[in-house]
């Protein structure tokens, strides 16, 4: 139904995947104030958190986004829901270019694209009751009648598995898993079509993780949602995602169907990532690839292929000079690596 084609090595997204991201960039510019510039001679720093990313998300799918800290996955998620303004590039949502929307149109977009946060302890205002927290999105989407609001809140709480009596409690009275459920209820309040789940289970205990993961999957089925699932726990990503994108230093290095990525990883970084996952099942343990060195800073990324400073399968000089573009190696499976060009 959706076509992905390649023009000049760049994903060309012509005909309507649900969400299309074209050449998206988000740079954070740290500019010291006048005094510091003059006296301490500090220059401005540009953190290239998201550096020219193009991808698409199909309606009803879960796209997993993995990468280590500093790779920009969190920034990408937040830029898509417009918590950050993008520096360059386009985001096309359901056919509409929402990159530069403001005011009323932005409000409309917010109803459709929501976000669930990682930390259940700081993502809820500790001074508000659950009812107040959930009322905010409901009022924003126009539900003025307090009775209707209350009914909807009761419904939402029930849907995420919480008793309606919890309405008047404060966040600190709940456990981590319950708080995360409240966060999920909040993101559902405006009946969105697309949800960015930013590490929704990382801060939870193992036995609760499974509950929340199951809840998210049920909700997806029932409400026909589309997810961007950001996580660093690869086992969780494997379980929930239809397709997976691997990020490194602001760029996508590999993207494809979950099965392909996990059982036929192409990019050296992906291979190293997968080899590092500890596994309970002895037979599934992979040969550990230990990467040299540490992740370079996104302020000064290496020239050419960003991974070349740590790459154990480096091809040669080309890796240091030329930045590889995403190329389709097998159906639906793209890699940005000179080994495949």
């Amino acid at each position: 139904m959706y076509k992905i084609s390649l023009i000049n090595g760049v994903l060309d997204l012509e005909n309507g995947a649900f969400i299309q991201i074209k050449n998206l960039k988000k740079y954070f510019i740290e500019e010291p104030d006048l005094l510091t510039k003059l006296i301490a001679k500090k220059k401005k720093r540009i953190v290239r958190a998201v550096d020219d990313i193009s991808l698409e998300i199909n309606k009803g799918e879960t796209l997993g986004l993995v990468g280590e800290s500093g790779c920009g996955k969190t920034t990408l998620g937040r830029t898509i829901v417009k918590l950050y303004d993008s520096t360059e590039g386009k985001v096309i949502f359901d056919g509409e270019d929402i990159t530069k929307v403001r005011g009323e149109e932005l409000k409309e977009y917010r109803k459709k694209a929501q976000i669930i946060f990682q930390n259940p302890y700081s993502s809820l205002n500790p001074r508000k009751t659950v009812k107040q927290i959930l009322s905010i999105p409901l009022i924003a989407s126009g539900l003025k009648n307090p009775h209707e609001r209350q009914e909807r809140i009761i419904y939402l709480l029930d849907r995420v598995g919480l008793n309606f009596r919890h309405m008047d409690s404060y966040p600190h009275e709940f456990s981590g898993g319950q708080r995360q459920r409240i966060g999920i209820a909040r993101s559902l309040a405006m009946s969105p079509e697309f949800i960015v789940a930013d590490e929704p289970v990382s801060a939870l205990d193992v036995s609760i993780q499974a509950q929340i993961i199951n809840l998210l999957e049920e909700l997806k089925e029932e409400l026909n949602l589309t997810y961007l699932f950001i996580a660093h726990d690869l086992s969780v990503v494997y379980h929930v995602s239809d397709r997976v994108a691997v990020m490194y230093l602001g760029k996508i290095v590999e993207i494809g169907k979950t099965f392909d990525i996990f059982f036929n990883p192409l990019h050296p970084y992906t291979k190293a990532l997968l080899s590092a996952i500890p596994s309970i099942d002895k037979s599934k343990r992979r040969e550990r690839i230990i990467l040299e060195g540490t992740v370079p800073s996104p302020v000064n990324p290496p020239a050419g292929c960003r991974f070349h400073t740590r790459c154990f399968m480096k091809k040669g000089r080309i890796c240091e000079g030329l930045e590889p573009k995403l190329k389709e190696v097998e159906k639906g499976h793209f890699v940005a690596c000179h080994l495949y060009s």
Binding site: E68, Q209, A210, Y238, P278
Partner: protein, 333 residues
């Protein structure tokens, strides 16, 4: 080497007495790696802190014995404890950023451990100790460089004077391991040392710890919530729930043939990368509230899929199922 008998740690709160650790029996053999696995509130971190008697107020060690080399640590004087801490038994914590002091160079922090325990030149410095002091400082400096190399910090000479914030998370953790190793401890206590790190760095750190265990014969107690890490890394595992050990035994046995319903549930609820995707099993209910635990009966009763009426009433001790394997469950009475 280290034996814990019936350890109980209680906290006085305004909701009553909370038993963070409720009767633990553990044994660590020389040169082995023991894993303590559990979720939040299970009491695993508190157990480690008790070994070094670092339980924070308002908690206190209410009962029990901790035998290190056949002597009860809980009966030692503060001076003797200071000798043990850092020198015979060392500890590394979860968050490297807060463990290292941000205002001192890393090398100096490693050297501090050597200095405090008088590792180099243990003779006392007399009045004319200046020269001895300088010599000693030089030797300590060299030893620190040696340690930094041993834990895999590259360019140690340059990095000696760097500050913690100039190190990456993985390197900070290595620095902390260097501090822990500085006095060549017999036992290393590790409280979730890799939880705050990326998965590739985690692999490196675990590798390093394994080398230390193999080359120096250091015994390790490794606390984690990640069963997968415990499965790969430890020789023996103890699973904790609500302040008690519910299952204990050699790692292969516990992982492949789990006996306690909680262990079984945990293993089932971890997403695995297998050829076929299945729906995740989730243990119903919530992590227990330690302030409102029942006086008798099994603390896991409410969430247990195999529970029986009797489980609510009878308190079961740890039962030895076979050689070295223990379970706390009514089914194995």
């Amino acid at each position: 080497m280290l034996e814990i008998k019936n350890l109980q740690v209680t906290f006085q709160t305004d909701r009553g007495i909370v038993k963070a650790v409720n009767g633990i029996d553990l044994a660590l053999e020389k040169g082995k790696i023991l894993g303590l696995v559990g979720e939040s509130g299970s009491g695993k971190s508190m157990t480690l802190l008790s070994i070094l008697r670092l339980v924070p107020y308002p908690g206190k060690i209410a009962e029990g014995e901790i035998l290190f080399d056949k002597e009860d640590i809980l009966k030692k004087s503060p001076q003797e404890m200071r000798d043990i801490r850092g020198r015979d038994i060392a500890m590394i914590f979860q968050d490297p950023m807060t463990t290292l002091n941000p205002v001192f160079p890393v090398g100096e922090q490693i050297r501090e451990s050597l200095r405090v325990h008088n590792i180099i030149n243990p003779e006392r410095n007399g009045f004319f100790g200046f020269r001895k002091d300088k010599e000693r400082k030089k030797k300590e400096h060299e030893k620190v460089i040696e340690l930094m190399e041993k834990v895999g910090i590259s360019y140690p000479k340059r990095r000696y004077f760097s500050y913690p914030h100039q190190f990456s998370g993985g390197m900070q953790q290595r620095a902390i391991i260097a501090i822990a190793l500085s006095c060549n401890p017999k036992i290393l206590l590790a409280d979730e040392p890799t939880t705050a790190l990326d998965v590739t760095i985690q692999a490196q750190i675990l590798d390093l710890l394994r080398q230390i265990n193999e080359k120096n014969g250091t015994s390790i107690i490794f606390v984690t919530h990640d069963l997968a890490i415990a499965a790969e890394f430890c020789d023996e595992i103890a699973v904790m729930y609500a302040g008690q050990i519910v299952e204990k035994g050699p790692v292969d046995k516990v992982i492949e043939e789990p006996k306690h319903p909680y262990t079984k549930g945990l293993l089932k609820s971890i997403p695995k990368i297998t050829q076929k995707k299945e729906k995740l099993y989730a243990i119903p209910g919530n992590v227990p509230d330690l302030a409102s635990l029942p006086e008798y009966g099994c603390p896991f009763y409410e969430r247990c899929e195999e529970a029986m009426e009797e489980c609510k009433e009878v308190t079961i001790p740890l039962i030895e199922v076979s050689n070295g394997e223990f379970v706390r469950c009514i089914k194995y009475r």
